[in-house]
């Protein structure tokens, strides 16, 4: 009895998904739980595992097609088993009993071309070993470009490593959220995510006069941004922070955190300071409703992660009010890593009560981000820059005098929903973040 592969509902409000890529072709053998296809929804990209072991008998939904949750995508069964040629009409319909006889699916002839970074045999490349597939996947290597020196011209692990070392492609395996001042958050996106041609992400292969088809992520961003601006009167307020103490603290603790396998980033400090401020000013950890302002118990902070040309995604750190700087850092590392690997679970991008966005990643000093509905506010973090500031220092006479100092400075933006919050509260909130960061101990 063949079993159906069904488009799952990947999250509460997600009703449809797009088949991005079939990892197996018709006629291929597949084991239960082995990844069968990649699906893209407006919330998350994910792999769908095979519901049972057997032969992939028929694929009903082609790559690029968007279908609603519950649609039968494919059938898996024993070789030679008969399955309908067309999509069984309803998800619930039982399959294959009275449909017309179907020609047996031949194996090799109809098998789809194996993508280059997939384990197995590729006509063009020969055998791709698991480790080669993994390295190629992690670094975005186009294996067609790698010269194989193994048996029969096979690409070996050494070949792909040599290719990477040759600098043929920008190493995209830079750990996310690291070294903001030098690293990801405050480096140009293309440096972080790698760009093959052209210098601005997302501009490769763009032909003037052509139309770029919308991806589900693009549509979703468009819809959410527009809705947010429509429902909520946005007001932005700016403050600047002297990060001297944070920089010093991070310097001292980076190695200690590293012993626990955690990369301590500046982002973790902004996150921790936001948690403090959200606790001090609970009106910000809130949502508008017709009945009144809903104050949330948990502090769930979304962190915008750029996916380069593919838009952005906002994984949420749940229960952030209960986490230490170490735990926040670890959670950040993990979520950002998986966001970039498209490995987030749907629930991990939902339920945020506040959001932080690091527009400083691409050198921006100020920005006025859009609130992620139904939250009350969003914090924008600019690029950290050393600037000359006026400070007061003790003078020899026992009083104080003004002096120039060079300090690591950053501008913070709080964009808030004026329905819930007034300027004074918003400034008190942002001021708490500033104070926390400037007095970090």
């Amino acid at each position: 009895m063949a079993s159906e592969v069904i488009m799952p509902q990947l999250g509460e409000s997600v009703v449809e998904g797009t088949v991005m890529k079939w990892l197996k072709g018709e006629g291929d053998a597949i084991a239960e739980f082995e990844a069968l296809l990649e699906v893209n929804t407006d919330k998350v990209d994910t792999e769908i595992p095979a519901p049972s072991s057997g032969i992939l008998l028929r694929v009903y939904v082609e790559e690029g097609q968007t279908v609603s949750a519950g649609t039968v995508l494919a059938m898996i069964g024993e070789a030679g088993e008969e399955v309908p040629t067309k999509v069984p009409s309803q998800p619930e319909t039982s399959v294959m009993t009275e449909t017309e006889a179907v020609p047996q699916v031949s194996s090799a002839a109809q098998a789809v071309a194996v993508p280059s970074a997939q384990v197995g045999r590729s006509k063009a490349l020969g055998f791709i070993s698991p480790v080669v597939a993994r390295i190629a996947g992690e670094h975005g290597v186009d294996l067609q470009q790698v010269r194989g020196t193994g048996r029969g011209g096979r690409i070996t692990k050494k070949d792909v490593l040599a290719y990477l070392e040759s600098g043929a492609i920008a190493d995209s395996a830079v750990p996310p959220w690291e070294e903001p001042a030098l690293g990801e958050l405050f480096r140009p996106t293309e440096e972080v995510f790698g760009v093959k041609q052209g210098s601005i992400p997302g501009t490769e292969v763009l032909k003037p006069g052509s139309v770029i088809p919308h991806t589900p992520v693009r549509r979703s961003i468009a819809e959410h941004m527009l809705r947010s601006k429509q429902v909520s009167p946005h007001v932005s307020t700016f403050m600047e922070v002297d990060l001297s103490r944070v920089v010093a603290h991070r310097q001292t603790n980076k190695a200690i955190f590293a012993r626990d396998g955690v990369n301590l980033t500046f982002t973790a400090y902004f996150l921790a300071a936001s948690v403090q401020a959200l606790k001090a000013v609970p009106q910000v950890n809130a949502s508008w409703s017709d009945e009144g302002v809903v104050l949330h118990e948990a502090v769930n902070i979304g962190m915008a992660v750029s996916l380069g040309a593919d838009g952005l995604i906002v994984p949420v750190i749940k229960g952030a009010e209960q986490l230490s700087l170490l735990a926040l850092s670890a959670a950040l590392n993990d979520l950002a890593e998986r966001a970039r690997g498209r490995k987030l679970k749907p629930e991990e991008v939902q339920g945020g009560t506040f959001t932080i966005t690091n527009h400083g990643i691409s050198g921006s000093l100020f920005a006025t981000p859009i609130i992620s509905q139904p939250q009350a506010a969003i914090l924008g973090v600019g690029a950290i820059q050393k600037r000359v500031v006026a400070i007061e220092v003790p003078d020899p006479a026992g009083g104080s005098m003004d002096a120039f100092a060079i300090r690591p400075m950053v501008y913070l933006t709080l964009t808030f929903d004026h329905r819930l919050l007034d300027g004074a509260i918003a400034d008190a909130f942002l001021g708490t973040i500033v104070k926390t960061l400037e007095n970090w101990a």
Partner: protein, 328 residues
Amino acid sequence: MAEITLIEGIRQAMDEELARDERVFIVGEDVGPRGGVFRATLELFEKYGPERVIDSPLAELSIVGIGVGAALYGARPICEIQFADFIHPAFNQIVNEAAKMCYRSNGEWTVPMVIRAPYGGGIGGGLYHSQSVEAFFTHVPGLKVVIPSTPYDAKGLLKSAVRDPNPVMFFEPKKGYRLIRGEVPEEEEVLVPIGPAKVTRAGTDLSVFAYGMMHYYCLQAAEQVASEGIEVEVVDIRTLLPIDMDTLLGSVEKTAKALIVYEDNLTGGYGAEIAARLADQAFTMLDAPIKRLAGPDIPAMPYSHPLQDWFMPDPEKIAVAMRDLASY
């Protein structure tokens, strides 16, 4: 530091443990005045007397049965099975009594016993003096299974085995008894913990996992292929049960290729367990199939010398397998 043979390491271990702890005693065939057929117990009878170095009847079942009973009464028996080929009459005592005692008494009773047995061929021993039996026992939770390949490890692991609170199967590569020599310090106590495997030669091109005599041969084969530019990492498993996967995975992470060499016949041999675990835990590290080189699946080691040579993996055969995997 003195260079000694592997069997001298074993003799010293027993000598020192007999001297250290009066609960320790040896029981086995010809272990007394004769000093054992391989001279592993040479002069221990004279030194510790007939109550602590006991000649047994030709009955392996009773040797181990005595060990289990004595261990339950607080002694620390070292049972010698003259050849591993003859351990099978004692299988029930080992598997059903010794291995399960701690578990079935909920930790109240343990069997602190060592069973020593020379194993392996290549010595003209024919069908009944050449067998490798480790895989029968690595299948049994409750046992520890140890196979040393150097005089240092033989001494240090056997001493640890005597002190272990639970039964330890200690198989000794008899072909290496006098062939394998190595330095063992006299002035300090040698103790090697049961558990960790050891990287005995660092390399980058492939990992070779072996134990006992095959480990010794693998080092020789690695030398051979090194002159051809193939850098083999050799790991001495040392403790088969429980297995030290961390060391094995660390090596495969580095080399991406694994060859497992064992003398026992291929099917269901101990190398199958390593291969299965690597397939599971090292899948995305692998750049080549996991390979095994082992004895052929025939009932026993032939007596005829040419046929014995055909059976035994040796440095030449291992070098061929290394080259093959390196070129994959």
